[in-house]
Chain length 144, copies 2
């Protein structure tokens, strides 16, 4: 996304588009593997050596509040983030913990049973696949 358009969107919501926020957003845009806070911190330190892990967390929270990024609850070890906010789904490799987007439309296949439709006001739904990716199967032993 062009920088001036981004800036306007931020202004409208009362946020400032600081270099740190831009760097994190840009990194998430190009990184398909859905990094964790630590991944982002390590990657950004090359270009932005003064950045702190707290700023990464703060920024991820701010971007999430703005609706610019989404937290993915899929890895029991840590949170991951992605910048696509249209509803979609994910598959994770339980070896290398890389996550990929699945843009299939599952909405027809996921009917919430009546009992819960009465009990809950549903805000979102996601489908999560767990598996082992080919790279890890080749690297790993025959168990995988």
């Amino acid at each position: 996304m062009p920088i001036d358009r981004l800036k306007k969107r931020y202004d409208r919501k009362g946020f400032k588009l600081t270099p740190q926020r831009l760097a994190i957003l840009r990194y998430l845009e190009k990184e398909k593997g859905h990094p964790s806070a630590e991944n982002i911190y390590m990657a950004l330190k090359k270009d932005c050596p003064t950045i702190s892990i707290a700023t990464v967390y703060n920024t991820l929270q701010a971007l999430q509040d703005m609706g610019e990024i989404r937290e993915i609850v899929i890895d029991p070890e840590r949170k991951h983030y992605c910048c696509r906010v249209e509803p979609h789904h994910h598959i994770i490799c339980t070896e290398c913990r890389k996550i990929y987007d699945i843009f299939a439309d599952y909405s027809q296949g996921l009917e919430l049973p009546d009992e819960f439709r009465k009990k809950f006001k549903v805000t979102s739904a996601q489908v999560v696949y767990y598996g082992i990716c080919n790279e890890c199967r080749e690297k790993g032993n025959e168990k995988l």
Copy 2:
């Protein structure tokens, strides 16, 4: 599940069915809300005051390794556990963080796109719904 049958299953896998393990398993069997390690620890201290949080974590791991319980990745704050291991799905209230089982069969509705079927050996899949339960909506303000 009767205690002698449980014991045999544990023996067969080389585990001992200690009072602590039994207590945790029993608690998970009756607790429909899918407690976290801390929930379990607090609840069990009444009847078993010497239990330690480390034993809860150790036991949850052991039970998971045995295939007796399942870890639910749904709450970004902490892990939750349930004792039903047949594949099923979940809905969580993002206010009180209680989790409920959904036993609907979604297998027909969840076709993994070809690109991933070639790239991944899939081991499991789950559907996760997020929402607000009626109790929390009534308790909470009109925002919810």
